[in-house]
Amino acid sequence: MTSLQVFIQQLANGLTLGSIYALIALGYTMVYGVIQLINFAHGEVFMVGAYATLMLVLLISPLGLPWWVALVVCALGAALVCGALGGLAEQFAYRPIRSAPRLNALITAIGLSFFLQNALMLIFGATDRQFPSVIPFVRWNVGGITLTLMQVIVWASSAALMAGLQALVMRTKLGKAMRATAQDRTACALLGIPVDRVIRLTFVIGSMLAAVGGMLFGMNYGTINFHDGYLTGMKAFTAAVLGGIGNIPGAMVGGLVLGLLEGLGAGYLSSQWKNVFTFLILVALLLFKPTGLLGERVAERA
Protein backbone atom coordinates (compact mmCIF):
# COMPACT_ATOMS: atom_id res chain seq x y z
CA MET A 1 0.00 0.00 0.00
CA THR A 2 1.22 3.46 -0.76
CA SER A 3 1.19 6.07 1.95
CA LEU A 4 -1.75 7.78 0.33
CA GLN A 5 -3.71 4.54 0.39
CA VAL A 6 -2.86 4.06 4.07
CA PHE A 7 -4.04 7.56 4.74
CA ILE A 8 -7.35 7.02 2.96
CA GLN A 9 -7.82 3.67 4.68
CA GLN A 10 -7.38 5.34 8.06
CA LEU A 11 -9.82 8.02 6.99
CA ALA A 12 -12.39 5.36 6.15
CA ASN A 13 -11.91 3.64 9.50
CA GLY A 14 -12.08 6.94 11.32
CA LEU A 15 -15.23 7.89 9.48
CA THR A 16 -16.92 4.71 10.69
CA LEU A 17 -16.00 5.36 14.30
CA GLY A 18 -16.87 9.02 13.90
CA SER A 19 -20.33 8.27 12.56
CA ILE A 20 -21.08 6.23 15.68
CA TYR A 21 -19.69 8.96 17.94
CA ALA A 22 -21.81 11.50 16.11
CA LEU A 23 -25.01 9.51 16.67
CA ILE A 24 -24.34 9.37 20.42
CA ALA A 25 -23.12 12.95 20.58
CA LEU A 26 -26.46 14.13 19.21
CA GLY A 27 -28.19 12.89 22.35
CA TYR A 28 -25.78 14.76 24.60
CA THR A 29 -26.06 17.93 22.64
CA MET A 30 -29.85 17.91 22.30
CA VAL A 31 -30.37 17.42 26.01
CA TYR A 32 -27.76 20.01 26.84
CA GLY A 33 -29.31 22.45 24.41
CA VAL A 34 -32.73 22.13 25.98
CA ILE A 35 -32.05 21.87 29.71
CA GLN A 36 -28.27 22.50 30.06
CA LEU A 37 -27.69 19.08 31.58
CA ILE A 38 -24.60 17.01 30.90
CA ASN A 39 -26.45 13.71 30.77
CA PHE A 40 -23.81 11.35 32.05
CA ALA A 41 -26.19 8.41 31.78
CA HIS A 42 -26.31 8.74 28.00
CA GLY A 43 -23.32 6.45 27.47
CA GLU A 44 -25.23 3.78 29.38
CA VAL A 45 -28.32 4.32 27.25
CA PHE A 46 -26.09 3.64 24.28
CA MET A 47 -24.98 0.36 25.88
CA VAL A 48 -28.60 -0.58 26.58
CA GLY A 49 -29.15 -0.11 22.85
CA ALA A 50 -26.27 -2.44 22.07
CA TYR A 51 -27.57 -5.14 24.44
CA ALA A 52 -31.13 -4.75 23.23
CA THR A 53 -29.85 -5.34 19.71
CA LEU A 54 -27.97 -8.41 20.87
CA MET A 55 -31.13 -9.87 22.39
CA LEU A 56 -33.12 -9.10 19.27
CA VAL A 57 -30.52 -10.68 17.03
CA LEU A 58 -30.58 -13.85 19.13
CA LEU A 59 -34.37 -13.79 19.09
CA ILE A 60 -34.92 -13.34 15.37
CA SER A 61 -31.96 -15.23 13.95
CA PRO A 62 -33.92 -18.56 13.87
CA LEU A 63 -36.48 -16.90 11.58
CA GLY A 64 -33.97 -16.64 8.77
CA LEU A 65 -34.97 -13.16 7.68
CA PRO A 66 -32.95 -11.42 4.97
CA TRP A 67 -30.16 -9.44 6.63
CA TRP A 68 -31.57 -6.04 5.77
CA VAL A 69 -34.94 -6.89 7.28
CA ALA A 70 -33.17 -8.11 10.41
CA LEU A 71 -31.19 -4.88 10.50
CA VAL A 72 -34.31 -2.74 10.34
CA VAL A 73 -36.06 -4.87 12.98
CA CYS A 74 -33.04 -4.54 15.27
CA ALA A 75 -32.80 -0.80 14.78
CA LEU A 76 -36.50 -0.29 15.47
CA GLY A 77 -36.50 -2.61 18.49
CA ALA A 78 -33.41 -1.06 20.06
CA ALA A 79 -34.73 2.43 19.41
CA LEU A 80 -38.01 1.50 21.07
CA VAL A 81 -36.29 0.14 24.17
CA CYS A 82 -33.93 3.09 24.50
CA GLY A 83 -36.58 5.65 23.65
CA ALA A 84 -38.76 4.29 26.43
CA LEU A 85 -35.78 4.28 28.78
CA GLY A 86 -34.94 7.89 27.92
CA GLY A 87 -38.52 9.00 28.42
CA LEU A 88 -38.81 7.21 31.75
CA ALA A 89 -35.48 8.59 32.94
CA GLU A 90 -36.63 12.10 32.13
CA GLN A 91 -39.97 11.66 33.82
CA PHE A 92 -38.85 9.94 37.00
CA ALA A 93 -35.25 11.05 37.48
CA TYR A 94 -34.73 14.46 35.91
CA ARG A 95 -38.11 16.18 35.91
CA PRO A 96 -38.63 16.16 39.70
CA ILE A 97 -35.36 18.00 40.25
CA ARG A 98 -35.51 20.37 37.33
CA SER A 99 -35.97 23.39 39.59
CA ALA A 100 -33.22 22.31 42.00
CA PRO A 101 -29.64 23.60 41.62
CA ARG A 102 -28.10 22.40 38.41
CA LEU A 103 -25.41 20.24 39.99
CA ASN A 104 -28.15 18.03 41.45
CA ALA A 105 -29.20 16.96 38.00
CA LEU A 106 -25.59 16.08 37.30
CA ILE A 107 -25.46 13.91 40.43
CA THR A 108 -28.74 12.27 39.43
CA ALA A 109 -27.32 11.54 36.01
CA ILE A 110 -24.26 9.96 37.60
CA GLY A 111 -26.45 7.87 39.90
CA LEU A 112 -28.54 6.75 36.96
CA SER A 113 -25.39 5.87 35.08
CA PHE A 114 -24.18 3.64 37.96
CA PHE A 115 -27.62 2.08 38.13
CA LEU A 116 -27.86 1.27 34.42
CA GLN A 117 -24.30 0.04 34.15
CA ASN A 118 -24.76 -2.37 37.04
CA ALA A 119 -28.17 -3.44 35.81
CA LEU A 120 -26.55 -4.38 32.49
CA MET A 121 -23.82 -6.27 34.30
CA LEU A 122 -26.33 -8.19 36.42
CA ILE A 123 -28.53 -9.09 33.47
CA PHE A 124 -25.91 -9.88 30.86
CA GLY A 125 -22.84 -10.75 32.91
CA ALA A 126 -19.51 -9.03 33.31
CA THR A 127 -17.74 -10.80 30.46
CA ASP A 128 -17.56 -9.79 26.82
CA ARG A 129 -20.56 -10.89 24.80
CA GLN A 130 -20.06 -12.08 21.25
CA PHE A 131 -22.23 -10.34 18.74
CA PRO A 132 -23.51 -12.75 16.08
CA SER A 133 -22.90 -11.39 12.62
CA VAL A 134 -26.05 -10.06 11.03
CA ILE A 135 -24.59 -8.32 8.08
CA PRO A 136 -22.85 -10.56 5.55
CA PHE A 137 -19.16 -10.01 5.27
CA VAL A 138 -18.73 -8.34 1.91
CA ARG A 139 -15.61 -6.40 1.07
CA TRP A 140 -14.70 -4.32 -1.89
CA ASN A 141 -11.30 -3.27 -3.01
CA VAL A 142 -11.46 0.28 -4.27
CA GLY A 143 -8.08 1.35 -5.59
CA GLY A 144 -6.21 -0.59 -2.91
CA ILE A 145 -8.49 0.51 -0.10
CA THR A 146 -10.67 -2.06 1.61
CA LEU A 147 -14.26 -1.11 2.29
CA THR A 148 -16.71 -3.46 3.96
CA LEU A 149 -20.47 -3.58 3.68
CA MET A 150 -20.60 -2.92 7.42
CA GLN A 151 -18.74 0.35 7.03
CA VAL A 152 -21.00 1.47 4.24
CA ILE A 153 -24.06 0.66 6.33
CA VAL A 154 -22.67 2.63 9.27
CA TRP A 155 -22.04 5.63 7.05
CA ALA A 156 -25.34 5.46 5.22
CA SER A 157 -27.54 4.91 8.25
CA SER A 158 -25.94 7.60 10.34
CA ALA A 159 -26.04 10.05 7.45
CA ALA A 160 -29.74 9.28 6.94
CA LEU A 161 -30.53 9.66 10.64
CA MET A 162 -28.67 12.92 10.92
CA ALA A 163 -30.41 14.31 7.87
CA GLY A 164 -33.73 13.18 9.34
CA LEU A 165 -32.96 14.80 12.67
CA GLN A 166 -31.92 18.03 11.01
CA ALA A 167 -35.19 18.07 9.09
CA LEU A 168 -37.13 17.33 12.26
CA VAL A 169 -35.48 20.13 14.17
CA MET A 170 -35.62 22.72 11.42
CA ARG A 171 -38.83 21.91 9.60
CA THR A 172 -41.38 20.49 12.02
CA LYS A 173 -43.44 22.10 14.72
CA LEU A 174 -41.82 19.86 17.35
CA GLY A 175 -38.39 20.97 16.19
CA LYS A 176 -39.40 24.59 16.42
CA ALA A 177 -40.71 23.98 19.93
CA MET A 178 -37.39 22.35 20.86
CA ARG A 179 -35.40 25.27 19.58
CA ALA A 180 -37.69 27.68 21.39
CA THR A 181 -37.44 25.71 24.64
CA ALA A 182 -33.68 25.81 24.37
CA GLN A 183 -33.79 29.58 24.13
CA ASP A 184 -36.21 30.43 26.91
CA ARG A 185 -38.22 27.82 28.72
CA THR A 186 -40.37 30.25 30.70
CA ALA A 187 -41.41 32.25 27.67
CA CYS A 188 -42.28 29.00 25.88
CA ALA A 189 -44.51 27.90 28.72
CA LEU A 190 -46.24 31.28 28.64
CA LEU A 191 -46.87 30.88 24.93
CA GLY A 192 -48.57 27.54 25.48
CA ILE A 193 -45.78 25.28 24.28
CA PRO A 194 -45.99 22.02 26.27
CA VAL A 195 -42.48 22.39 27.61
CA ASP A 196 -42.53 19.15 29.62
CA ARG A 197 -43.53 17.11 26.61
CA VAL A 198 -40.92 18.80 24.42
CA ILE A 199 -38.21 18.02 26.94
CA ARG A 200 -39.32 14.42 27.25
CA LEU A 201 -39.37 14.00 23.47
CA THR A 202 -35.87 15.46 23.32
CA PHE A 203 -34.69 12.72 25.67
CA VAL A 204 -36.60 10.08 23.70
CA ILE A 205 -35.18 11.11 20.33
CA GLY A 206 -31.64 11.42 21.69
CA SER A 207 -31.90 7.98 23.27
CA MET A 208 -33.22 6.45 20.06
CA LEU A 209 -30.24 7.79 18.14
CA ALA A 210 -27.94 6.36 20.81
CA ALA A 211 -29.72 3.01 20.42
CA VAL A 212 -28.89 2.92 16.72
CA GLY A 213 -25.36 3.95 17.63
CA GLY A 214 -25.21 1.01 20.04
CA MET A 215 -26.49 -1.36 17.39
CA LEU A 216 -23.90 -0.24 14.85
CA PHE A 217 -21.16 -0.34 17.50
CA GLY A 218 -21.99 -3.93 18.42
CA MET A 219 -22.28 -5.10 14.83
CA ASN A 220 -19.10 -3.34 13.79
CA TYR A 221 -16.86 -4.54 16.63
CA GLY A 222 -18.36 -7.98 17.20
CA THR A 223 -18.11 -7.95 21.00
CA ILE A 224 -19.68 -5.77 23.65
CA ASN A 225 -19.03 -5.37 27.34
CA PHE A 226 -21.19 -3.66 29.93
CA HIS A 227 -18.60 -0.96 30.62
CA ASP A 228 -17.97 -0.03 26.99
CA GLY A 229 -20.58 2.68 27.50
CA TYR A 230 -18.32 4.68 29.75
CA LEU A 231 -15.44 5.41 27.39
CA THR A 232 -17.58 5.59 24.28
CA GLY A 233 -19.99 7.91 26.05
CA MET A 234 -17.12 10.07 27.17
CA LYS A 235 -15.74 10.25 23.63
CA ALA A 236 -19.14 11.10 22.24
CA PHE A 237 -19.49 13.80 24.84
CA THR A 238 -16.08 15.12 23.80
CA ALA A 239 -17.35 15.13 20.24
CA ALA A 240 -20.41 17.13 21.26
CA VAL A 241 -18.21 19.69 22.99
CA LEU A 242 -15.78 19.72 20.10
CA GLY A 243 -18.53 20.73 17.76
CA GLY A 244 -20.06 23.18 20.20
CA ILE A 245 -22.40 21.70 22.74
CA GLY A 246 -26.06 22.45 22.24
CA ASN A 247 -25.52 22.69 18.52
CA ILE A 248 -26.84 19.79 16.43
CA PRO A 249 -24.75 20.15 13.26
CA GLY A 250 -21.85 20.72 15.65
CA ALA A 251 -22.33 17.29 17.21
CA MET A 252 -22.22 15.69 13.78
CA VAL A 253 -19.08 17.58 12.78
CA GLY A 254 -17.52 16.96 16.19
CA GLY A 255 -18.19 13.24 15.99
CA LEU A 256 -16.73 12.94 12.52
CA VAL A 257 -13.70 15.07 13.36
CA LEU A 258 -13.03 13.08 16.53
CA GLY A 259 -13.40 9.78 14.69
CA LEU A 260 -11.06 10.90 11.93
CA LEU A 261 -8.50 12.21 14.40
CA GLU A 262 -8.62 8.96 16.31
CA GLY A 263 -8.35 6.91 13.15
CA LEU A 264 -5.33 8.90 12.04
CA GLY A 265 -3.92 9.00 15.58
CA ALA A 266 -4.16 5.23 15.91
CA GLY A 267 -2.60 4.78 12.49
CA TYR A 268 0.29 7.19 12.79
CA LEU A 269 0.88 7.60 16.52
CA SER A 270 0.80 4.68 18.89
CA SER A 271 -2.69 3.58 19.79
CA GLN A 272 -1.78 3.87 23.49
CA TRP A 273 -1.45 7.60 23.23
CA LYS A 274 -4.53 7.95 21.05
CA ASN A 275 -6.76 8.90 23.98
CA VAL A 276 -4.35 11.51 25.30
CA PHE A 277 -4.36 12.97 21.83
CA THR A 278 -8.16 13.13 21.88
CA PHE A 279 -8.34 14.91 25.21
CA LEU A 280 -5.46 17.25 24.43
CA ILE A 281 -7.30 18.38 21.33
CA LEU A 282 -10.43 18.86 23.41
CA VAL A 283 -8.64 20.96 26.03
CA ALA A 284 -6.73 22.99 23.47
CA LEU A 285 -9.83 23.68 21.44
CA LEU A 286 -11.79 24.76 24.49
CA LEU A 287 -9.04 27.12 25.53
CA PHE A 288 -8.76 28.82 22.19
CA LYS A 289 -12.32 28.53 21.00
CA PRO A 290 -14.43 27.77 24.05
CA THR A 291 -17.62 27.52 22.07
CA GLY A 292 -16.47 24.60 19.94
CA LEU A 293 -16.02 24.37 16.21
CA LEU A 294 -19.52 25.42 15.21
CA GLY A 295 -20.64 26.93 18.48
CA GLU A 296 -22.10 30.37 18.43
CA ARG A 297 -22.28 32.36 21.60
CA VAL A 298 -25.29 30.38 22.69
CA ALA A 299 -23.58 28.60 25.51
CA GLU A 300 -22.88 31.59 27.72
CA ARG A 301 -25.41 30.47 30.27
CA ALA A 302 -22.85 28.89 32.53
Binding site: P101, L112, F114, Q272
Partner: protein
Protein backbone atom coordinates in the same frame (compact mmCIF):
# COMPACT_ATOMS: atom_id res chain seq x y z
CA UNK B 1 -23.82 33.68 66.80
CA UNK B 2 -22.93 34.46 70.40
CA UNK B 3 -19.84 33.08 72.02
CA UNK B 4 -21.76 30.57 74.10
CA UNK B 5 -23.25 29.04 70.98
CA UNK B 6 -19.84 28.84 69.45
CA UNK B 7 -18.46 27.18 72.51
CA UNK B 8 -21.28 24.64 72.51
CA UNK B 9 -20.46 23.86 68.90
CA UNK B 10 -16.79 23.53 69.62
CA UNK B 11 -17.58 21.22 72.50
CA UNK B 12 -19.74 19.09 70.23
CA UNK B 13 -16.92 18.75 67.75
CA UNK B 14 -14.46 17.83 70.43
CA UNK B 15 -16.93 15.23 71.68
CA UNK B 16 -17.29 13.76 68.20
CA UNK B 17 -13.54 13.76 67.78
CA UNK B 18 -13.14 11.90 71.09
CA UNK B 19 -15.66 9.28 70.01
CA UNK B 20 -13.77 8.90 66.74
CA UNK B 21 -10.54 8.41 68.69
CA UNK B 22 -11.98 5.48 70.59
CA UNK B 23 -13.49 3.68 67.61
CA UNK B 24 -10.49 1.36 67.10
CA UNK B 25 -10.59 0.44 70.79
CA UNK B 26 -14.34 -0.08 71.08
CA UNK B 27 -14.65 -1.89 67.81
CA UNK B 28 -11.32 -3.46 66.88
CA UNK B 29 -12.42 -4.94 63.58
CA UNK B 30 -9.56 -4.43 61.13
CA UNK B 31 -11.78 -4.60 58.08
CA UNK B 32 -14.31 -2.07 59.33
CA UNK B 33 -11.50 0.18 60.40
CA UNK B 34 -10.07 -0.05 56.93
CA UNK B 35 -13.40 0.95 55.38
CA UNK B 36 -13.65 3.85 57.80
CA UNK B 37 -10.11 4.91 56.93
CA UNK B 38 -10.91 5.07 53.24
CA UNK B 39 -14.11 6.96 54.00
CA UNK B 40 -12.04 9.47 55.97
CA UNK B 41 -9.61 9.70 53.09
CA UNK B 42 -12.61 10.52 50.93
CA UNK B 43 -13.54 13.15 53.50
CA UNK B 44 -10.11 14.73 53.06
CA UNK B 45 -10.66 14.86 49.31
CA UNK B 46 -14.17 16.21 49.75
CA UNK B 47 -12.84 18.99 52.00
CA UNK B 48 -10.39 19.98 49.27
CA UNK B 49 -12.91 19.86 46.47
CA UNK B 50 -15.35 21.77 48.64
CA UNK B 51 -13.01 24.77 48.46
CA UNK B 52 -13.13 24.70 44.66
CA UNK B 53 -16.71 23.65 43.95
CA UNK B 54 -18.52 24.45 47.17
CA UNK B 55 -17.04 27.79 48.13
CA UNK B 56 -15.77 29.26 44.89
CA UNK B 57 -18.37 27.66 42.64
CA UNK B 58 -15.96 26.26 40.02
CA UNK B 59 -17.24 22.93 38.74
CA UNK B 60 -14.30 20.54 38.72
CA UNK B 61 -14.52 17.05 37.19
CA UNK B 62 -10.87 16.01 37.27
CA UNK B 63 -10.10 16.20 40.95
CA UNK B 64 -8.75 12.63 41.07
CA UNK B 65 -5.79 13.88 39.03
CA UNK B 66 -4.44 15.89 41.98
CA UNK B 67 -4.89 12.89 44.24
CA UNK B 68 -2.86 10.91 41.70
CA UNK B 69 -0.18 13.58 41.42
CA UNK B 70 0.25 13.65 45.20
CA UNK B 71 0.41 9.86 45.39
CA UNK B 72 2.96 9.58 42.58
CA UNK B 73 5.04 12.47 43.91
CA UNK B 74 5.48 10.78 47.26
CA UNK B 75 5.83 7.36 45.64
CA UNK B 76 8.59 8.44 43.27
CA UNK B 77 10.45 10.45 45.92
CA UNK B 78 10.27 7.52 48.29
CA UNK B 79 11.38 4.89 45.81
CA UNK B 80 14.21 6.84 44.23
CA UNK B 81 15.39 9.08 47.07
CA UNK B 82 14.06 7.13 50.10
CA UNK B 83 12.27 10.23 51.18
CA UNK B 84 10.43 9.56 54.46
CA UNK B 85 6.66 9.91 54.48
CA UNK B 86 6.46 12.96 56.73
CA UNK B 87 8.84 14.93 54.55
CA UNK B 88 7.24 13.58 51.37
CA UNK B 89 3.93 15.11 52.38
CA UNK B 90 5.31 18.57 51.69
CA UNK B 91 6.40 18.09 48.05
CA UNK B 92 3.22 16.08 47.44
CA UNK B 93 1.12 19.01 48.60
CA UNK B 94 3.23 21.57 46.75
CA UNK B 95 3.36 19.72 43.43
CA UNK B 96 -0.38 18.97 43.46
CA UNK B 97 -1.14 22.52 44.49
CA UNK B 98 1.01 23.89 41.68
CA UNK B 99 -0.71 21.60 39.18
CA UNK B 100 -4.02 22.80 40.56
CA UNK B 101 -3.12 26.42 40.05
CA UNK B 102 -1.45 25.74 36.70
CA UNK B 103 -4.53 23.98 35.42
CA UNK B 104 -6.53 26.86 36.79
CA UNK B 105 -4.65 29.39 34.71
CA UNK B 106 -5.75 28.42 31.21
CA UNK B 107 -9.02 27.05 32.57
CA UNK B 108 -9.96 30.48 33.82
CA UNK B 109 -10.49 31.57 30.27
CA UNK B 110 -13.43 29.25 30.13
CA UNK B 111 -16.26 29.13 32.60
CA UNK B 112 -19.19 27.11 33.80
CA UNK B 113 -19.68 23.81 32.09
CA UNK B 114 -16.72 24.40 29.83
CA UNK B 115 -14.46 24.60 32.83
CA UNK B 116 -15.92 21.29 33.97
CA UNK B 117 -15.02 19.75 30.63
CA UNK B 118 -11.48 21.14 30.60
CA UNK B 119 -10.92 19.70 34.07
CA UNK B 120 -12.44 16.41 32.95
CA UNK B 121 -10.03 16.33 30.01
CA UNK B 122 -7.14 17.13 32.33
CA UNK B 123 -8.09 14.31 34.67
CA UNK B 124 -8.16 11.82 31.82
CA UNK B 125 -4.85 13.10 30.41
CA UNK B 126 -3.11 12.65 33.77
CA UNK B 127 -4.43 9.12 34.14
CA UNK B 128 -3.45 8.09 30.61
CA UNK B 129 -0.02 9.70 30.91
CA UNK B 130 0.57 7.80 34.16
CA UNK B 131 -0.47 4.60 32.38
CA UNK B 132 1.73 5.13 29.35
CA UNK B 133 4.86 6.71 30.79
CA UNK B 134 6.25 3.28 31.63
CA UNK B 135 9.83 4.30 32.36
CA UNK B 136 8.87 6.75 35.08
CA UNK B 137 5.58 5.61 36.53
CA UNK B 138 5.75 1.87 35.94
CA UNK B 139 2.87 2.04 33.47
CA UNK B 140 -0.29 0.10 34.23
CA UNK B 141 1.48 -1.86 36.99
CA UNK B 142 2.14 1.34 38.84
CA UNK B 143 4.66 1.90 41.61
CA UNK B 144 5.47 -0.91 44.00
CA UNK B 145 7.19 -1.02 47.34
CA UNK B 146 6.40 2.44 48.68
CA UNK B 147 7.39 2.78 52.34
CA UNK B 148 4.78 2.94 55.05
CA UNK B 149 5.08 5.88 57.44
CA UNK B 150 7.44 5.47 60.39
CA UNK B 151 7.33 7.14 63.77
CA UNK B 152 10.22 7.67 66.09
CA UNK B 153 9.20 7.11 69.68
CA UNK B 154 11.61 8.11 72.42
CA UNK B 155 13.10 5.01 73.94
CA UNK B 156 11.12 2.61 71.74
CA UNK B 157 12.88 3.21 68.44
CA UNK B 158 11.02 3.38 65.15
CA UNK B 159 7.38 2.46 65.02
CA UNK B 160 6.43 1.30 61.54
CA UNK B 161 2.80 1.80 60.46
CA UNK B 162 3.18 -1.40 58.47
CA UNK B 163 -0.09 -2.95 57.30
CA UNK B 164 -2.12 -2.45 60.48
CA UNK B 165 -5.38 -0.53 60.13
CA UNK B 166 -5.45 1.50 63.31
CA UNK B 167 -2.36 3.70 62.74
CA UNK B 168 -3.69 4.80 59.35
CA UNK B 169 -7.08 5.43 60.84
CA UNK B 170 -5.53 7.83 63.35
CA UNK B 171 -3.29 9.38 60.71
CA UNK B 172 -6.20 10.15 58.39
CA UNK B 173 -8.39 11.24 61.30
CA UNK B 174 -5.79 13.77 62.36
CA UNK B 175 -5.36 14.93 58.76
CA UNK B 176 -9.12 15.41 58.40
CA UNK B 177 -9.28 17.24 61.74
CA UNK B 178 -6.49 19.64 60.83
CA UNK B 179 -7.81 20.20 57.31
CA UNK B 180 -11.35 20.80 58.54
CA UNK B 181 -10.06 23.30 61.07
CA UNK B 182 -7.95 25.08 58.44
CA UNK B 183 -10.85 25.11 55.99
CA UNK B 184 -13.23 26.55 58.54
CA UNK B 185 -10.73 29.29 59.45
CA UNK B 186 -10.12 29.92 55.77
CA UNK B 187 -13.78 30.05 54.84
CA UNK B 188 -14.44 32.69 57.49
CA UNK B 189 -11.43 34.79 56.50
CA UNK B 190 -11.38 37.56 53.91
CA UNK B 191 -10.29 34.99 51.35
CA UNK B 192 -13.16 32.63 52.15
CA UNK B 193 -15.71 35.41 52.00
CA UNK B 194 -14.28 36.57 48.70
CA UNK B 195 -14.60 33.00 47.33
CA UNK B 196 -18.25 32.92 48.31
CA UNK B 197 -18.73 36.32 46.73
CA UNK B 198 -17.27 35.00 43.48
CA UNK B 199 -19.59 32.02 43.59
CA UNK B 200 -22.65 34.13 44.22
CA UNK B 201 -21.96 36.80 41.65
CA UNK B 202 -18.65 37.05 39.90
CA UNK B 203 -19.31 40.42 38.30
CA UNK B 204 -20.40 42.03 41.55
CA UNK B 205 -17.37 40.52 43.28
CA UNK B 206 -14.94 41.93 40.78
CA UNK B 207 -16.69 45.31 40.94
CA UNK B 208 -16.18 45.29 44.68
CA UNK B 209 -12.46 45.08 44.13
CA UNK B 210 -12.01 41.35 44.67
CA UNK B 211 -9.11 40.04 42.56
CA UNK B 212 -11.26 37.32 41.02
CA UNK B 213 -8.57 35.60 38.95
CA UNK B 214 -6.02 35.38 41.76
CA UNK B 215 -8.59 34.03 44.16
CA UNK B 216 -9.80 31.41 41.72
CA UNK B 217 -6.21 30.24 41.25
CA UNK B 218 -5.75 30.19 45.01
CA UNK B 219 -8.87 28.08 45.48
CA UNK B 220 -7.70 25.58 42.89
CA UNK B 221 -4.20 25.56 44.35
CA UNK B 222 -5.45 24.94 47.90
CA UNK B 223 -7.83 22.25 46.71
CA UNK B 224 -5.03 20.61 44.76
CA UNK B 225 -2.67 20.70 47.75
CA UNK B 226 -5.21 18.97 50.00
CA UNK B 227 -5.70 16.26 47.40
CA UNK B 228 -1.92 15.94 47.21
CA UNK B 229 -1.69 15.26 50.93
CA UNK B 230 -4.49 12.73 50.64
CA UNK B 231 -2.64 11.11 47.74
CA UNK B 232 0.58 10.78 49.72
CA UNK B 233 -1.29 9.19 52.62
CA UNK B 234 -3.02 6.84 50.23
CA UNK B 235 0.26 5.82 48.59
CA UNK B 236 1.93 5.20 51.95
CA UNK B 237 -1.05 3.16 53.16
CA UNK B 238 -1.35 1.02 50.04
CA UNK B 239 2.36 0.55 49.50
CA UNK B 240 1.65 0.36 45.78
CA UNK B 241 -0.35 2.56 43.44
CA UNK B 242 -1.70 2.03 39.95
CA UNK B 243 -3.25 4.59 37.58
CA UNK B 244 -6.57 2.74 37.85
CA UNK B 245 -7.09 4.06 41.37
CA UNK B 246 -7.44 7.60 40.05
CA UNK B 247 -10.15 7.33 37.45
CA UNK B 248 -13.02 9.59 36.54
CA UNK B 249 -15.37 7.70 38.84
CA UNK B 250 -13.30 8.87 41.80
CA UNK B 251 -13.59 12.52 40.72
CA UNK B 252 -17.30 12.05 40.34
CA UNK B 253 -17.69 10.32 43.70
CA UNK B 254 -15.91 13.12 45.52
CA UNK B 255 -18.07 15.66 43.74
CA UNK B 256 -21.16 13.70 44.75
CA UNK B 257 -19.97 13.78 48.36
CA UNK B 258 -19.60 17.56 48.28
CA UNK B 259 -23.00 18.09 46.69
CA UNK B 260 -24.67 15.58 48.96
CA UNK B 261 -23.20 17.14 52.08
CA UNK B 262 -24.21 20.60 50.99
CA UNK B 263 -22.08 22.85 48.82
CA UNK B 264 -19.66 24.95 50.81
CA UNK B 265 -20.35 23.23 54.11
CA UNK B 266 -17.35 21.71 55.85
CA UNK B 267 -19.20 19.29 58.07
CA UNK B 268 -21.33 18.53 55.00
CA UNK B 269 -18.26 17.47 53.05
CA UNK B 270 -17.18 15.17 55.87
CA UNK B 271 -20.60 13.67 56.45
CA UNK B 272 -21.23 13.28 52.72
CA UNK B 273 -17.93 11.44 52.39
CA UNK B 274 -18.67 9.20 55.37
CA UNK B 275 -22.09 8.32 53.96
CA UNK B 276 -21.06 7.66 50.37
CA UNK B 277 -17.75 6.16 51.45
CA UNK B 278 -19.31 3.56 53.71
CA UNK B 279 -22.58 3.04 51.83
CA UNK B 280 -21.17 0.27 49.61
CA UNK B 281 -20.23 -1.55 52.83
CA UNK B 282 -23.66 -1.10 54.40
CA UNK B 283 -25.05 -2.54 51.22
CA UNK B 284 -22.67 -5.47 51.20
CA UNK B 285 -25.56 -7.71 52.28
CA UNK B 286 -27.14 -7.06 48.90
CA UNK B 287 -24.08 -8.62 47.35
CA UNK B 288 -23.98 -8.03 43.63
CA UNK B 289 -26.90 -5.65 43.71
CA UNK B 290 -25.12 -3.16 45.90
CA UNK B 291 -23.74 -0.84 43.21
CA UNK B 292 -27.16 -0.87 41.60
CA UNK B 293 -28.71 0.24 44.87
CA UNK B 294 -25.88 2.69 45.37
CA UNK B 295 -26.81 4.44 42.13
CA UNK B 296 -30.45 4.51 43.13
CA UNK B 297 -29.57 5.82 46.58
CA UNK B 298 -27.62 8.70 45.05
CA UNK B 299 -30.66 9.68 43.01
CA UNK B 300 -33.07 9.35 45.93
CA UNK B 301 -30.95 11.28 48.43
CA UNK B 302 -30.38 14.19 46.10
CA UNK B 303 -34.08 14.32 45.36
CA UNK B 304 -35.17 14.24 48.99
CA UNK B 305 -32.63 16.83 50.04
CA UNK B 306 -31.77 18.99 47.03
CA UNK B 307 -29.70 21.48 49.02
CA UNK B 308 -27.58 18.72 50.53
CA UNK B 309 -27.53 17.62 54.13
CA UNK B 310 -26.01 20.77 55.60
CA UNK B 311 -26.54 23.18 52.75
CA UNK B 312 -29.65 24.96 53.94
CA UNK B 313 -28.26 28.41 53.44
CA UNK B 314 -26.68 28.59 50.00
CA UNK B 315 -27.04 26.56 46.92
CA UNK B 316 -30.76 26.10 47.31
CA UNK B 317 -31.39 29.80 47.12
CA UNK B 318 -29.91 30.15 43.69
CA UNK B 319 -32.26 30.17 40.83
CA UNK B 320 -31.83 27.28 38.41
CA UNK B 321 -29.79 28.47 35.49
CA UNK B 322 -32.60 28.63 33.02
CA UNK B 323 -32.56 32.31 32.29
CA UNK B 324 -29.85 33.57 30.05
CA UNK B 325 -27.65 36.08 31.76
CA UNK B 326 -25.34 37.13 28.98
CA UNK B 327 -24.29 40.35 30.65
CA UNK B 328 -23.65 38.95 34.07
CA UNK B 329 -21.82 35.94 32.73
CA UNK B 330 -19.86 37.29 29.83
CA UNK B 331 -16.14 37.43 30.35
Amino acid sequence: MDSRGLRARTRRWIGLGAVALFVPIIHPNAYHLDVLTSALLYALLALGLNLIVGLTGLLHLGYAAFFAIGAYTYGLLNIHLHCPFWIGLIPAAIVSGLFGAALGMPALRVRGDYLAIVTLGFGEIVRIVLTNLDQVTGGPNGLLGIDHPKFWLPGRGFFDFSVESAPYYYLVLVAVGITAWLCSRLSRSRIGRAWVAIREDELAASCSGIPVLDLKLLAQGCGGAIAGVAGAIFASKQGSITPDSFDFILSVMVLAMVVLGGMGSIRGAIVGALILGTLPEWLRGFDQYRMLIFGLAMMVIIRLRPQGIFGAFQASRRKPATAKEPHARAA
